[in-house]
Every structure is written in structure tokens, then in C-alpha cells.
Symmetry: C2
Subunit: 230 residues, 2 copies
């Protein structure tokens, strides 16, 4: 096997991937069948399984591309207040994901089943979650207006949790064009803008630290194993 063959197999893989994304968008994740995906790609059913481990796996490949784009885009956001940087990152992410809503719904649905390799809070997806937290740390660190009382790492954990919530909501948002989700991002930006004021309130910084300490280990994938109690 040589250069030509590698390109050919890569092209086949790409054809399967592309026809899958088309069908997911056309008829939804569940209604798109692997046989139809293979058929449109001009190959047999078995070959689709040679290139992808499962139907979910195709959606996962899409998600990983989007993840890379998110991380790259987060590093490029122009300096400014956290509120502006966060909302820029979220808006751009939603825009990138918009054409793939159906595929991502399928992924999330599979990602809730325990034992699945794509489980959202599962051990196998921990590296993905850590990359996202790192990306949000970059978003926070590039801002000058984050109060001293609030650790950048804590804020990054909370913004990632908020990101997860907003994506979940967006996938289900029944409003036309998902405009409620857009309004939710606006709402988040307005309130993030008041972070400096809020941080002066007694108890606020402590609450942020506490919430981050609860969610952080779960999201980063630490201390999630069940210890035996004597």
C-alpha cells in the first residue's frame, strides 16, 4: 500500500462521512439508516463499518471536528471584556453547529446511555472535556476585567458547564430558528458584564468557588471512580 491507496481510502471515508451528514440533515439522525448512508456513498454496508465503528461514531467524528474549530476560534477572539469574549465564542459555536443539529441530537442522545464510549460525562470523554475547559480558560485569561476574587480556572469550569447547558437547550429549543437560545446567550452576556459588581457582594466569590469545586472534578473526570468503603 502506498500514497495513492492511502488517498483512495481517505476519499472513501470522506464520501461515507459526507453522505452520512447529508442524510442526518435531511431526515434526522434516527431515520437515516446505515444502509442508505453506504448506498449514497456508493459502497457496501460493511465498508461503512470498516471506516467508522458505529453510526454514533460518524456523529462523533463531526463533533471532534467542531471541537477543534471551537478551540482554534477561542484562541483567536479579540481582547476585551469577558462578557464580550464569552458571547463571541458561544455565538460562533452555535453558528458552526447549526447545519448539523440533527446529527448532534443523535450524538447527545447516545451520549446519555451509560457505558457508551460517547457518554457525555463518562471517563472516555474526559480528555474532550478538559480541552473544552482549557479553551474556556483561554477565553477568561484573555479578558482584563475578571475580578481578583474569582479564579480564572473556576470561572472557566462554570463557563464550560454553562456551555453544555446552552448546547443542550439549543438542541431541544423549539422556538423558530432557535431564537430563544440566542436570547439566552444575550442574557448571559448581560449578566457576565455585571460580574465585577457581583463579586463585591459578600458570599458571591465563595459561591463561585464552591460551585466550581463541585462541578470541576466531575467535568475534568477526576475522582469519579467508586471507592470501596470499609
Amino acid at each position: 500500500m502506498r500514497r495513492g491507496a492511502i488517498q483512495k481510502s481517505e476519499a472513501t471515508r470522506e464520501r461515507i462521512y459526507a453522505s452520512a451528514l447529508e442524510l442526518f440533515a435531511e431526515k434526522g439522525f434516527a431515520a437515516a439508516t446505515m444502509r442508505e448512508i453506504a448506498g449514497r456513498a456508493g459502497c457496501s454496508l460493511g465498508l461503512a463499518y470498516h471506516y467508522f465503528p458505529s453510526k454514533d461514531g460518524i456523529a462523533l467524528a463531526l463533533y471532534e471536528r467542531l471541537l477543534d474549530e471551537f478551540v482554534a476560534a477561542a484562541a483567536e477572539i479579540s481582547p476585551g471584556p469577558v462578557a464580550a469574549r464569552w458571547s463571541a465564542a458561544m455565538s460562533a459555536d452555535l453558528a458552526r453547529m447549526a447545519p448539523h443539529r440533527a446529527a448532534l441530537v443523535g450524538l447527545i442522545s447516545a451520549g446519555l446511555a451509560p457505558g457508551s464510549p460517547t457518554q457525555v460525562l463518562g471517563a472516555e470523554a474526559a480528555p474532550i472535556r478538559r480541552r473544552m475547559i482549557a479553551a474556556f480558560t483561554a477565553v477568561v485569561s484573555g479578558a482584563r476585567d475578571v475580578p481578583r476574587a474569582i479564579a480564572a480556572g473556576d470561572l472557566a469550569v462554570l463557563l464550560y458547564a454553562l456551555h453544555l447547558l446552552i448546547i443542550f437547550f439549543w438542541l431541544q429549543d423549539p422556538s423558530p430558528g432557535q431564537r430563544t437560545t440566542v436570547a439566552l446567550v444575550d442574557f448571559g452576556r448581560e449578566n457576565l458584564r455585571r460580574l465585577g459588581l457581583a463579586a463585591r457582594l459578600p458570599g458571591f466569590a465563595g459561591a463561585v468557588r464552591r460551585l466550581a469545586s463541585l462541578l470541576g472534578p466531575v467535568l475534568a473526570g477526576e475522582a469519579t471512580s467508586v471507592e470501596s468503603q470499609p
Copy 2:
């Protein structure tokens, strides 16, 4: 057909329901097969589908029982501060759901697929969501310490949204005994206790109203249809 037959068919239905719950708990929702459920109930596969529309439908029947219990329990909570009433409702709900985590994971997973009758934010589940909002309205109304600036209906919508979030998190919570979720409820109670102070801050009451106005229509199932734009 008379009394005796009705009782017999009800008993059959209950046998299928019970063996399904057993198997969900034993091996998880996905690994429990309809053939095995029917087999343990001592009937044929087809009969299970005579009594339940689908595998998800069995989990939905469980959820509806839990919903009834939640509504009834919410009405029985002793008077006191909102924080205490909310945390009592949540703790009791988690305790009731604990034995059925696996079944509920299956339900939630199905409830994210668009077009499914069990879709969490879908039109068909709107009556269920309205009942939950009504139950939370009762929780709020039974408290004397809710600030005037915050409408009971708005707070109920937000507490229901928080309930959904906490249940979602609980279903995925990898910490032993889901202790992180318990800590999250404690955290919520502590912060709800400060609602009176927070309500005095400029902008807080407005933010509550705004968020409730965004989430309310989606949760209550209003204005979710796509209007044609001229």
C-alpha cells in the same frame, strides 16, 4: 368482559411493568430486552406490546407515577422558607427516583430524539411540564419569605428549570452515590436562602423576570410553532 377479566388484564399489565423495572435496574435500560421482559412476566413478546406502546412507554409509565408522587408530595411540604421547601421537594424526589435511575436514563435518552412522543421539551409532554410548574408554584406560594419584587410564577418556572437540570445531572453524576448532586441541592438551598438580600440589588429582579420570560413559554409549551414569515 367483566370485573374479573379487568382485574386479570390489569394483573398481567402489572407483571410486565414489574419485570421490566427489575430488568432495567439489573442490567440497564438498553441491555434489558423486550423478549426477556415478556419472558420474566410469563407472557409472549406480543402481549407486552399490547399493554405498552413501546419499551420507552414502560419507562414513561414509571415516570408518570413518579410525577404524581412529586405533585402530591409538593402539596404536603410543611410551611417555611422557600429554601427549605424547595430542598425538601428536591431531596424527596431524588430519593423516590433513586431505585429507578437506569430506567429513567433510558427515558431521558429517548426523550431527546426529535419527534418522539416522550421528547422532553416536545409538544406532547407540555401537560406534564405544566403540572410540574404548577407543583413548583405551590412550593413557592407556601413560603412567606419570597420578595415582593419576584413573581411567584416566575420563580416557579426557574425552579422547574433548575429541577430539570438537577435531574439531568443526577442521571449522569459519576460520583459514588451521586453525592455531588446532593451537594448541588445543598448549594441551591443556601443560595435560595439569600434570595431576599439578592432581590434588593439593582437589576436582580429584572434579570429574574427576563429569564423566566425566556424559559416560561418554552417550558409551558406556548408559542413553539413555527410561524410563516411574509
